[in-house]
Amino acid sequence: MRVLLSLFILMSLELLAESIEQLTVLPEKIFLDHKDDFQAFIAQGTRGDLSTIDLTDKVKIDILDKSICKYEAGQFIPLKTGISPVKITYQNKEKNIHIEVKNTQAKESTSFALDVVPILTGAGCNSGGCHGASRGQEKFHLSLFGYDPVGDFKRIKYDLSGRRINLAVPADSLFLQKAVKTVPHTGGQLLNKDSKHYQTILAWLKEGALADKKDIKKAIKLEVFPKQSVMLGDAQQKISVRVSYSDGTDRDVTELCAFFTSDSSSAEVMDKSYIKTKIPGEAHLMVRYGTLNALSTCIVIPDKVEKLIPIVEKNYIDKASNQKWQRLRMQPNKLCSDQVFVRRLYLDLCGRLPSEEEYQEFIDDSNTNKRDNLVDRLVLSEDFMDLWSMKLSELLQIRTDNNYDLKNVILYSSWIREQLRQGKKYNEIVHQLITASGNSFANPAANFYQIQNDNKIISENVAQVFMGIRLQCTQCHNHPFDRWTMDDYYSYSSFFAHIGRKNAEDPRAQIIYNKNSGDIKHPVYKKALEPKFLGGDAPEDTKTDRRITLANWLTAKENPYFASTLSNRMWEHFFGRGIIHPVDDRRLSNPAANPELLDALSQKFIEYDFDLIPLAKDICKSNTYSLSSAQTQSKGNLEKYFASAPIRRIRAEVLLNAITQITETKNYFSNSYIDTKATQLMVNNSGSTFLNTFGRVNRKSPTIACETMTEPNLAQSLELLNGNTINSKINGSPFIQRALNEKWTPEKFINTLYIRALSRPASPQEMEKLKELYTSPEKLRDVHQDIFWAILNSKEFIFVR
């Protein structure tokens, strides 16, 4: 009976077990170096539909030579020096791990940099909010995430006459007592007295708190297992991290790592031991150990498999999008209507609304590729170039301030616009800017160096604007979320060390020249570093002006960042969100939402010889751009993967253009020609409260994303409700006057207004409601104005659908 029962249980288990196509076991080779060494492994099964399942606790582990090592609590632990294969089986699948125990002696000594610092990092002691802050807590400063172990050692051992440690009775050290909170500690209890980590620090103290030898091994590589997983919503997967050292040894450091996720609504690492998934989407899990980073990609898909209907692929953009959605099992939205499209396209490409004629012409066009035709036409309009000169001027921070004159601003702005109008390619413009020399009046590009006189900041800006890399934090410490180090920063910024500036005849101008000397000192080494390309090698040619060398490298087709950053910015212009988002924050922990798409775009951009127009054309012609923004049933973060068009706020300049256009009024900006559009302004502060209220860029930093597209606020609502701009424009609108003169019927007025402002006719209900307002013919003007006002105040008007 009992046998039967157990058989039954076994069978039911067998039934419950899922069938898999492939078994992955990582790491495949395990080395154990000393008595206390250990290594965890993970087992991952791949189902028929490519989704994965955690099998770590379900597989059978068969150590062939049981005297070599044992498996306990998820870890392999050494017993005897030797080699043993380990057979891992699950159902009919089988994998082998090679385990080599190199040594079973106790570790010779505890190292501060290799053993103690990682514990501090793991417990968060040296994080930015605690002792990692520049002054530390109570002046006890540790280097951020332990980038400077030598300094940390000195501070712990010698500061305040050795107050923090007690070598005579190591367990009584303040350093340890704070961590376990036997004395009051604001940071709380971080270690347990019987934990391994406590013992490690205690061991270091007992050995005399020795400094590390100079040639101590370095952590050089961080591996995370599994590297990728495709999981159903609400599942778990064990995660394990291993670091390799310069001497060939390695170590399981899972519990000493810090874990971050790019999207906590999809997946994150819990308890430093397993991945937990939530809603469908994609999360890049970043692991940091000291200054090393590694990434594990986790795709979360809905567990119900539905038939996905891909969009019709018009070009490479749609292809890359479809592939992405397929992987995420994400159903894209339907295509938008012609009415939505025409408004969207005019706003995006021309920075204004379509006129009634333009609207009617497009709607009436029965041509099947009328959308493409419209794109072809609009992209060549001067309006589009105005939009991009404005964008570039913002990125280059062209603004007046105390020591930067209006004349420079106008010359510089006009120069940018002239370049774009002449059809200069993006790489040529950037090359000219970076290599600019001479009088900043005669050669306005030289203003690039006059507007900012701190060469370090210029180098940071070049990295951020043209390469999408934020280097600012590496000025003082290694980047906590990326590969960049202080050495990278200072060897790259050396390219800008030789810039010379002297006064020109006109005090407002400067002469920029190459002075062939000067350096930017590395604060740790106290000397300048030889120039080296960011993420690349040192240049071979050291004779020419360093800026020319850099500009050549930057604008080369081979540069991995240049084309991709502009493509990403272009994409952001049309979708309100970069493929890498924010657009100028490219880093390991902030990966692209669709890397294939970004690659394809930048590849094309290079093929087009850095011409902006064909790139914009491709994007606008894609069906991905034509998707509707209406609500759908589809699950997951659609907008992040561009599976649905976002509803975007219209930016300040365009909104003012649109209002001016439909009211047929004029704007009066200071320092500008009459009839200048808001998108054509050359001076950043040409007076307009409207633009300020709706958040135009103040151009004080290259990070535009933070400044424009501000959250809606009360001031904006009030400006629309009864601000001067709106009221005077409506009251003095020649359009209303025309309607009155020509004695339009209410229907005609309402419909024309709807088409002008919202690019659609009024719905029957709206028409009915609005017509009711026309009670007496004397008040015709007032009612016209009221309706106008109401439409300008509608959500539909201030957003792009």
């Binding site: 050795g162 070598l167 005579a168 009051p184």
Partner: protein, 562 residues
């Protein structure tokens, strides 16, 4: 053993008799606040403007107003915060709730009127007459008779001596080790013995100006502080002061042995009367941890320095601030007065040593003789200034700012402190070694301060280990005797309060039963005091006995191992 048992019994009796009485801030509530609230609501940090580390500050409330409403726990914000379930205001904000008993205790404390101490109307003090015992002449050589040569604390590593001090007139140098003070003869480098400091680490060590006493401060680092004074000759404790909130970083006594000034991480300068432990001055004068503090040899000034490099000169008679000096750019690591009191020097992490005139508060001279931070500074009686730096150098300068001696310890562990006496440098380093450099010798000698190496240290000395064991016991008895005396002192204080209470009860014509209870308590105190006196006497007798036994023993026997 018996005494030990009895004393703990007494403590229990003592506490339980208190429990029946009033709950007060000083005796009950402070420790609860310290355990559960002090991380955020201390005098240093005071989150929300609330500092619970002292009675006055607690009653002053937070930036939002009063938190304790005496007599009315329900309307006390503090009580609400520790009892509520509302996560927005509950305290402590994270982790477990406060212990139920503690909450009950706080409730009763507030209910009974939130008293500061036994008798909140006025503060009473009991005089300590220990300092009156002997009169010494200035310049008299005072050496310890027979300290315990056996260490009080076993070490796993020769922990560095964080502090050291040189006796003004005697050939005596003291090192502050963990939980004990080691005294050495500065001429022969012979160990003279250890003083027991079970309170913890020693942050500061100094001799009284006549060389009769030695003062150690420190405590459990990061938790609580102590100041202890010993009589050098007998090795007997004569004074002990507890500093509740934090270990005492620095302290110094006035030359007339009347005042004790201390500095800690609460940024305050506190001055106590050594006679009766009355707190005479408490002023949050510094913007950072107080890191150095010294009375001038003539007793006119106190100068204090902090971690921000700020220096304050105080009038030691009026106990008021005279000058604040913002000259240094880094932590003041040490202060020293020239023996004539006309100049004091300050050493700082900013790599400079500055000399000041205390009267004019003017900077007389700045020496930059060390690369990197200057760690220590000391004047000897000849007015020669000895300094150590992070650069592993010891430099001695005379009063004309001329270098008279120099030692480079570049190949050895970093240095802590150094003194210069009779053309000899004595220093201590982080490897737990004493560094000695005679003028005649080219090389410095390094002697370990590791307490286990007793025999190795005393090659010229011969000791009788059995005798030393008895001696250690004798010193332990002395310590016990001191503890008993301290208890008697606090009993005396209790009695004074009680007498005051009886007096006011008589004035108020309280009912006889209550009055009778007070009388009974008074007699209980008498009884307790009597018991304690008996124990003291017993301890004294056993000390004498031990001494007798020791004297019978031969001097010349050495033992191979301790």
């Amino acid at each position: 053993m018996y005494a030990n048992f009895f004393s703990s019994l007494l403590t229990i009796l003592f506490i339980s008799s208190l429990n029946a009485q009033k709950i007060t801030y000083d005796e009950h509530i402070r420790q609860i606040f310290k355990a559960d609230c002090s991380e955020c609501h201390n005098s240093n940090k005071a989150k929300g403007g609330l500092d619970l580390s002292s009675y006055l500050q607690t009653m002053a409330g937070s930036s939002a107003g009063e938190v304790v409403s005496a007599g009315d726990p329900e309307n006390s914000v503090l009580f609400e915060c520790i009892t509520t379930d509302d996560s927005d205001i509950r305290m402590p904000p994270k982790g477990a709730r406060m212990n139920k008993n503690d909450i009950e205790m706080i409730k009763n404390w507030i209910l009974a009127g939130a008293l500061e101490n036994r008798h909140s109307k006025k503060k009473l003090f009991v005089k300590n007459d220990a300092f009156k015992a002997t009169e010494t002449k200035k310049g008299e050589v005072i050496l310890p008779d027979h300290l315990s040569l056996l260490s009080w604390q076993e070490y796993s590593y020769p922990g560095p001596a964080k502090t050291m001090a040189l006796s003004p007139f005697s050939p005596l140098v003291a090192f502050g080790l963990y939980k004990q003070v080691a005294l050495y003869n500065s001429q022969t480098q012979n160990l003279l013995g250890y003083l027991d400091f079970p309170e913890g680490s020693i942050n500061g060590l100094s001799f009284s100006s006549n060389g009769q006493y030695i003062i150690a401060v420190g405590g459990h680092i990061g938790n609580e502080g102590f100041c202890v004074i010993w009589d050098i000759k007998s090795g007997r404790r004569i004074f002990s002061l507890k500093h509740e909130s934090m270990d005492i970083h620095v302290a110094h006594v006035s030359p007339d042995m009347k005042l004790l000034a201390i500095g800690s991480n609460d940024k305050k300068i506190k001055v106590y009367s050594l006679e009766n432990k009355e707190l005479l001055l408490e002023e949050k004068a510094h913007s950072e941890w107080v890191s150095a503090l010294r009375f001038s040899p003539d007793g006119k000034y106190i100068v204090s320095g902090d971690r921000n490099g700020q220096l304050i000169i105080w009038d030691a008679k009026e106990l008021s601030k005279l000058h604040t000096l913002y000259k240094h750019k880094g932590r003041i690591s040490a202060l020293a007065w020239r023996p004539d009191s006309k100049v004091f020097a300050s050493a700082s992490d900013d790599a400079s040593i500055m000399f000041f005139d205390p009267l004019k508060a003017s900077n007389l001279k700045t020496l930059k003789i060390h690369k990197g931070a200057v760690n220590s500074l000391s004047y000897n009686e000849k007015g020669q200034l000895c300094s150590t730096g992070n650069d592993h150098q010891i430099r001695v300068y005379d009063s004309a700012y001329k270098q008279v001696a120099h030692l480079d310890c570049n190949k050895r562990a970093p240095l802590l402190n150094a003194v210069y006496v009779n053309d000899k440098i004595i220093a201590s380093n982080y490897a737990g070694r004493m560094v000695i450099k005679e003028k005649a010798n080219k090389e410095a000698a390094f002697l370990t301060l590791f307490p286990k190496n007793l025999l190795q240290l005393n090659k010229s000395q011969t000791i009788n280990l059995e005798k030393e064991r008895l001696n250690k016991k004798r010193h332990l008895e002395m310590f016990k005797e001191f503890e008993f005396k301290e208890k008697i002192q606090s009993l005396k204080l209790e009695q004074l309060y009680l007498l005051d209470e009886i007096k006011s009860a008589l004035d108020d014509k309280t009912d006889l039963i209550a009055l009778n209870q007070l009388y009974t308590k008074n007699s209980e105190y008498f009884h307790l005091a009597y018991e304690l006196k008996l124990l003291t006497k017993k301890s004294q007798e056993s000390q004498l006995n031990l001494l007798k036994q020791m004297n019978k023993m031969p001097q010349q026997i050495t033992s191979a191992d301790q």
